[in-house]
Every structure is written in structure tokens, then in C-alpha cells.
């Protein structure tokens, strides 16, 4: 029996969380979503636009996925808390992917603001999944204030740079008692496998699919990469060596 992903008591078959940013059409997004087999989809909150056609909610409902609103674009704890409350009212879920960023160019989390927002939202009854730095101390403090998971980055959002500091991630993984979900930085399939091999409980993927030349094909790659990485983690890899380790018998060689 393989262990399943559990967040705040909810069980997931899939360890891939689907990010919706960057898809050029809802149809492409829907096709990609189908390929990933994801069960949870994150969305941003913005002002209603009378011009905007189509509803992302219909797509997510049709796919039978849970919705995970996020606070993308918020720079302060106050903005993030307000946005989370609006999302709860609009979408009828206490779950929130909490993002509080420090600037527009790096989109990196602002630790102190993030921690303050997490604390308020937990008190307010939210199931908080914070997008955080690869900072083991911040990750633990987020866990201590009651976050349901921690979502450290591999590298900046959309950078496609993979996991720049696997050591920090390893330290977070060694010490976390809530699920660790790699968020941001995945650029291609092997990045997702590496995250899972390191022991992450899940990964969130958006730009790597939505901005790939063929988003639907990359979505399929991601589903397999997450599964491959998880299986490899469970299977127990061989150690790394400087020298070789013969895979052929050293006995029974012919003599000329």
C-alpha cells in the first residue's frame, strides 16, 4: 500500500497541484489539466472584467477538481488577508494558497509579512498553504503558527531555474511535520522528479506547462515526472560513488 498525500485531513491521489497562470486559452488549460490528473487547481482573485469571456470555474468544475484560491499579487499582510477573505466568500472554501511577495521583479516572498498574514488567517479559520522561501527557519515558523503545509520555492516564479538550493530544501524536509510542496521554479520534467526524489510531498506546476511550446504534452510529462520521482523516492536509490561498481560478473571470463 502506497502512502497518499494528505493535507489538512484531505487525501489526494495526485501529487501534482495545477497552477493556471500563463495558459493562452481556457481550452489549452483544460486539456493540460486533464493530462496532469491533478485534483487541486489554484486560481488568483482579480476585479471582474465585463469583457472577459469564459469562466475558469466551469473548467475546474468540469474536471472535478478542488479549487485552491491564492493571494498572488499581494505585497502586504493586509492585502493578502483581504484577498483571502474575498476568495473564501467568492468560492466557498477556507483553503488559501498564501502569497505575499516583496517585489515585482523577483516575486520572492516577504518573510515577515508572510508570517504575519499566515498567523491572522489561521486564527480566522483558514487552511493556509504559504508560498515561502527555501528558508528552513521561516518554514518552521509558518508550521508553528498552524499552516497546513509549507510551499518552499525552488527558484523564482516562472524562472524555470529548477531547485537552486537542494540543501535548504533537504533541511526543510528533514524537519517539517506538515506536507512540503515545492512551489515555483520548475522548468521541465526532471525538476519535478528531483523535488519528489528529495522527499517533497507534492509539487505545484504552472509556467513550465503553460509557457512550454506544447503545454499539453508538457503536462503529460509532468504527471509522469512526479510519479517517477515519487516512485524513485520510495524505491530507495543507490548511493553516489566517485568510482565504478561492476554490474557484470568478474568471474568466468574467457582466456585467449
Amino acid at each position: 500500500m502506497r502512502e497518499k498525500l494528505q493535507i489538512a485531513g484531505r487525501v489526494f491521489q495526485s501529487r501534482l497541484i495545477f497552477g493556471t497562470g500563463g495558459f493562452t486559452s481556457l481550452q489549452t488549460m483544460a486539456d493540460a489539466l486533464k493530462e496532469t490528473g491533478a485534483e487541486m487547481v489554484t486560481v488568483a482573485m482579480r476585479r471582474v472584467d465585463p469583457m472577459a469571456g469564459g469562466s475558469i470555474l466551469d473548467v475546474i468544475d468540469a474536471a472535478g477538481c478542488d479549487i485552491l484560491p491564492n493571494t498572488a499579487g499581494c505585497f502586504t499582510a493586509a492585502d493578502a488577508v483581504f484577498t483571502a477573505r474575498m476568495a473564501r466568500e467568492a468560492l466557498g472554501t477556507e483553503w488559501i494558497k498564501l502569497e505575499v511577495i516583496g517585489d515585482d521583479r523577483t516575486l520572492l516572498p516577504d518573510g515577515p509579512e508572510l508570517l504575519a498574514a499566515a498567523e491572522q488567517l489561521v486564527d480566522d479559520g483558514f487552511v493556509v498553504l504559504p508560498y515561502t522561501n527555501d528558508d528552513p527557519i521561516l518554514a518552521r515558523r509558518l508550521e508553528q503558527v498552524g499552516c497546513a503545509a509549507v510551499m518552499p520555492l525552488g527558484s523564482p516564479i516562472g524562472s524555470g531555474a529548477g531547485i537552486r538550493n537542494p540543501y535548504n530544501l533537504a533541511i526543510i524536509l528533514e524537519n517539517a511535520e506538515v506536507p512540503v510542496i515545492l512551489d515555483a521554479g520548475i522548468g521541465t520534467a526532471s525538476d519535478a522528479s528531483i523535488a519528489m526524489e528529495l522527499g517533497c510531498d507534492a509539487v505545484l506546476v504552472a509556467s513550465a506547462m503553460s509557457r512550454a511550446k506544447d503545454p499539453v504534452r508538457m503536462a503529460r510529462a509532468m504527471r509522469m515526472a512526479v510519479e517517477a520521482g515519487r516512485l524513485a523516492h520510495e524505491a530507495g536509490r543507490i548511493p553516489r560513488r566517485l568510482y565504478a561498481e561492476a554490474s557484470s560478473p568478474t568471474e568466468g571470463l574467457a582466456q585467449l
Binding site: 482573485m45 482579480r46 469562466s55 468560492l91
Partner: protein
């Protein structure tokens, strides 16, 4: 009376309700949207009874692709 609706100035008849505002935005149904007045969320249950007054700042948000 004058209000700011998602950052844009609008003239409304006195006694307008939240659904009236949503109609302006073409979201009469209001599925999947949330409304805040002066920074405070207005629960869906109060939309009909809530009365918009002059100078209010109203935000109407919905889910979009992102994150």
C-alpha cells in the same frame, strides 16, 4: 450618488443594492464573485439588504487564471 466601483467612478440611483452593482458589471448572477465595501467583505447573505451610499469604494472580485 457617486461611488467607486472597481476603481471606476459610477453614478447610482439612491438606495442601490449590491445586485444592482453586479448588474452594472454584467454579473447579475454573481456566481463566484465576492464584494467588499470600503475594504470590508459584504457577505452574500447581506447583498440584497445592503444599501450603497454616496462615496463608497466597492470592489468586486472573481477567480481568474494565475498563481
Amino acid at each position: 450618488m457617486n461611488v467607486k466601483l472597481n476603481g471606476e467612478p459610477h453614478q447610482l440611483a439612491a438606495g442601490a443594492s449590491i445586485p444592482d452593482l453586479l448588474a452594472i458589471l454584467g454579473f447579475a448572477a454573481g456566481r463566484g464573485v465576492a464584494v467588499a465595501v470600503n475594504g470590508e467583505v459584504v457577505p452574500r447573505s447581506e447583498w440584497r439588504s445592503f444599501r450603497v451610499t454616496d462615496g463608497m469604494q466597492i470592489e468586486v472580485l472573481k477567480a481568474v487564471q494565475g498563481g
